[in-house]
Symmetry: C2
Subunit: 205 residues, 2 copies
């Protein structure tokens, strides 16, 4: 058949990425396949290997779109006070997980095969996310050195991530329902209360 130049390489990439997101949003991450993506955009599976290195490469590009949306939502909170900003950002993290659980799972629960390295253009987005948190932590406690802020930001955000992961997977509802929003609020309130206080004293135990 060979439908020449009906779409440019860039268009094919965009089409494929959109197809991935549509399939995953509807059917879930485990139902995604190269063959389905190809069928969705009217091409052959083999074509996709002309525009992407492999399925994981395609998934990473689809995840970048989701990640950019999350970053935008989180950036909107930077005008608030540090504590409010962090609470709002955590809320946005959980909100995305609830609104688009499948796309969220594709981003945050996708593993590279045998711990292969994530490309730099993708890592840069994950880094931006941590930097947003770090900035607010630094505002909260100007006395702390960069290493302490670095550690605390990663501690707090990994914790937010953990709560969101278990919430999306419904692994928290066992033995009594829980309110994930209340969990995030409790985490951030208590962690920051002690951390900001100790940072004045220079104690970082």
């Amino acid at each position: 058949m060979a439908r020449r130049n009906e779409h440019s390489k860039a268009q094919l990439r965009t089409l494929a990425i959109a197809a991935v997101r549509a399939i995953v949003a509807e059917q879930g991450p485990d139902k995604l396949s190269v063959r389905k993506v190809a069928e969705h955009i009217g091409y052959t599976p083999g074509m996709l290997y002309h525009v992407f290195a492999c399925l994981d490469d395609l998934i990473l590009h689809a995840n970048a779109v989701t990640l950019d949306g999350l970053l935008q939502r989180m950036q909107a909170a930077t005008a608030l006070s540090p504590a409010e900003a962090l609470q709002t950002m955590a809320g946005q993290y959980l909100a995305l997980a609830r609104e688009e659980p499948h796309l969220w799972q594709l981003v945050f629960m996708h593993r590279m095969p045998q711990a292969a390295a994530v490309p730099a253009w993708y890592q840069q987005r994950t880094l931006q996310l941590f930097v947003l948190v770090e900035d607010q932590m630094a505002r909260l406690s100007a006395q702390q050195d960069a290493a302490a802020v670095h550690l605390a930001a990663r501690t707090l955000w990994s914790s937010v991530h953990g709560i969101s992961v278990l919430a999306v997977e419904n692994k928290l509802s066992i033995a009594g329902d829980v309110d994930e929003t209340a969990m995030l609020q409790s985490l951030i309130h208590h962690y920051l209360a002690s951390w900001a206080r100790n940072s004045v004293n220079g104690d970082d135990a």
Copy 2:
């Protein structure tokens, strides 16, 4: 061929579970397959469907063994003071993730297909894990009602989980190395410091 009664049904189950754990420990969760398990114990793939409902059922049984080991390790810490017990339990959680990353991943990153219900005999083990944490939280703050302890235990342990997940996936090493043990210590120290104090005042914001 049909090798009759060479192994009992119970023996076949034990053999298959051990094979799953051996294959995953060596090659990682994504390299596991029904066919490999069967070959590993000298049987045909079809046989496994006589002793297990499906691959996920078999995985759940393999995970139960890992989970029981973790529970034992965590239970050894119950003699310590509440804060020390929680620090030690979190350390055991991370230690397992580091010693047996693949088996840890099989337990904590395995998703049931389309959010299918986890069987009761398995949920009971996850519950035991939370109860261990809850007991220590209750000891820390006798004044709090059960609901508050419930929420705080799940908040803290989901956070420990989040830190361990990102540590195992090496998603924390971007932009400067981090010490996961220091993160766990920071989390537990600061969360408990504020939570235990506020619980005396009856404030649970």
